[in-house]
Subunit: 250 residues, 2 copies
Amino acid sequence: MSKKSTRVEFACQALRRAIIEQALPPGTKLPEDELGARFAMSRTLVRAALAQLQSEGLVDAPPRRTATTAKPTLEEAREVFEVRRMLERDVVRLVIARWKPEFGAELEGHVREEETAHKAGDARVSGRLAGEFHVRLGQMSGNRLLRRYLGEVVSRCSLILALYGRPHSADCSVKEHREIVAALRGRNADAAIAVMEHHLGLVEHRALSDRGRDAQFDLGAVLSRYAEPLDGGGASKVTRLPRRKLGAAK
Amino acid sequence: MSKKSTRVEFACQALRRAIIEQALPPGTKLPEDELGARFAMSRTLVRAALAQLQSEGLVDAPPRRTATTAKPTLEEAREVFEVRRMLERDVVRLVIARWKPEFGAELEGHVREEETAHKAGDARVSGRLAGEFHVRLGQMSGNRLLRRYLGEVVSRCSLILALYGRPHSADCSVKEHREIVAALRGRNADAAIAVMEHHLGLVEHRALSDRGRDAQFDLGAVLSRYAEPLDGGGASKVTRLPRRKLGAAK
DNA sequence: TGGGATTTGTTCGTATGTATT
DNA sequence: GAATACATACGAACAAATCCC
């Protein structure tokens, strides 16, 4: 609720976007000292930011180990999508119930943004905007808690896409989002929910159907299929933040 | 997810229960030093615990002010209940879909616990157990994220009850919970959802219908109805933790 | 409206516990 | 498997902001 402080909120936003846009792949280390230097703030506030992101499921921060961007298991990923489908259904219901004429224009404007980002070839930004479309819907539900939960699962879905999914296809999402807007304009809750569920089904499919890629993260499953040890497939390597002299940000 | 540390988790649990059982009324100050002394841990970990509770909506921790137990507005309270109704509906669906015979016995056992606590006259414990009944259902949904969200809103509902509600009536909740268990055993989702919605409607009514009490926390509304200043109705007094020499816990 | 007391935010040094070699 | 390097946890001390009288 009440922001712990603007600076903490700033760091959260920056990290959140970096994670969502896949600039910080799952498993990336996030040492407190380094983040503090980057954001010019004390570890006290860095910890607050990391705690916040941990509560959102974007960061793993075990007891005495350095925090990392989260690496949800395939099962957790499915659970996140399951909750997301439930929340989005209710969001559609509420948005239609509280529909205002300006909603249509706002959503259309957003989809146009997605479209231009897509045409500009910026896959990261268009992926982020695709998520933000749903968060805007959450906002329009008029329920701040629902909006928060939806924002959380949408972010986590982006993370999951980074882990298991094939590259984001802005093409599809723009088209599907237009269909959702049209369905909402119709003010028929059941019909709009059907469109939304169809869309989410496709998103989940894009995120989780690619059986070939997730396996590399499920060591047990890999070892049961291949007798020989892993020879370090490139994608399994953890990308580290570049080292940086502490205090240089002084 | 991964516990920040057992000690932090312990402090969280203790504070959570104290808040839920209304031992720490909304608005109670929670100074870091004092909590650290009580729980024999450094401010570092106390802050982690407070951050966690803040993310759960149980604690308010504005920038440079001392943390307090949360005082949600009436509007926020309604939003929490709205989300709760949505989540519980989905929980019922999932629990029925994944029903196992032992669920019935487990739930019945829990209701019996509620009953004995009620007969023992321990209103605080029976209020907590009433909440935990729903959290157990969340557990049975098999979706850990859903369980987390449900646990959060149930806790917040307890807080809201402390703020605005009339004293918890264990009598009703035991009876209503029995009805829910019976409906779940029937394995008819729509019927069970109807029973659950009925129950939640009553809970919300008990929590928010009592217009006389909430007003004291909505200063504007009070002043618009009464010209004379408040003369400190007993219930509006904030109970403080007893002062305590720091370091005494050494 | 001011002034003292309290409490958070910050930094540093040290210790302890993980990771890595 | 042991030793080294590294990062978090802790305590104290200080400054700054806030609260309360």
